[in-house]
């Protein structure tokens, strides 16, 4: 019983995803592209990098990368703490 209710909810979520997919803007035709066109046209002159994705990652959106590096560092600390020698005492 619980299983079928959960499956019904899952199908509901899938139907929502399908409706959203059909009603999105067409594939290969994004609508608001002013920011990306600005990056493509000015990224080389402003940052000097040929790879626009790298210039977005490390220059225009550096805060994202800082948070990402912090998340990686925290995950490594978590793994090392969880797998330390003694194991958790109860």
């Amino acid at each position: 019983m619980r299983k079928s209710v959960a499956f019904g909810g899952l199908l509901l979520v899938f139907a929502f995803l399908l409706i959203a997919a059909v009603n999105l803007h067409g594939f290969g035709d994004p609508t608001n592209t002013e920011m990306d066109d600005y990056f493509i046209h000015n990224g080389q002159r402003q940052t000097g990098a040929n790879n626009i994705v790298t210039s977005v990652v490390f220059d225009y959106r550096g805060y994202d990368t800082l948070g990402e590096a912090t998340v990686l560092f925290t995950a490594v600390s978590g793994v090392l703490i969880a797998l330390r020698k003694e194991g958790g005492e109860e």
Binding site: L10, L17, A20, A21, P30, V53, D64, A75, A82
Partner: protein, 114 residues
């Protein structure tokens, strides 16, 4: 809507991931389901930024000056790294659970259940 087939594929991948995460009892399979949902979201971000006939946004010896959007790709890079970090954390917790309970079945992990 055959033009929106990539979005439908993304929805199907997320559906498969959610199904795996909800209905499987093996913890490794649950992690696989969560990773599938992550992959679906990454694929969704990439397909949102695609322009028909566009090339990669890299100017080194570029022949095609009609380029896809760079920002979704940068954010997908962030998302992939965070996905790797969370997957490693989940797997290490599964190793600890296996050490304590000698089982990776979600039904057996019930010490906190009243």
């Amino acid at each position: 809507m055959i033009g929106n087939a990539p979005y439908i594929v993304v929805g199907f991948i997320i559906f498969l991931g959610l199904y795996t995460a909800i209905f499987k009892r093996n913890l490794i399979k649950i992690v696989m389901g969560i990773t599938l949902v992550e992959s679906g979201v990454n694929l969704f971000l990439i397909t949102l930024g695609y322009r028909t006939g566009g090339g990669a946004p890299i100017f080194t010896q570029a022949t095609n000056m009609h380029m896809v959007l760079p920002t979704p790709q940068a954010l997908t890079l962030t998302s992939i790294v965070i996905g790797v970090a969370t997957t490693a954390l989940m797997l290490s917790f599964i190793v600890m659970i296996y050490k304590h309970y000698k089982s990776i079945d979600a039904k057996d992990v019930r010490r906190l259940k009243g």
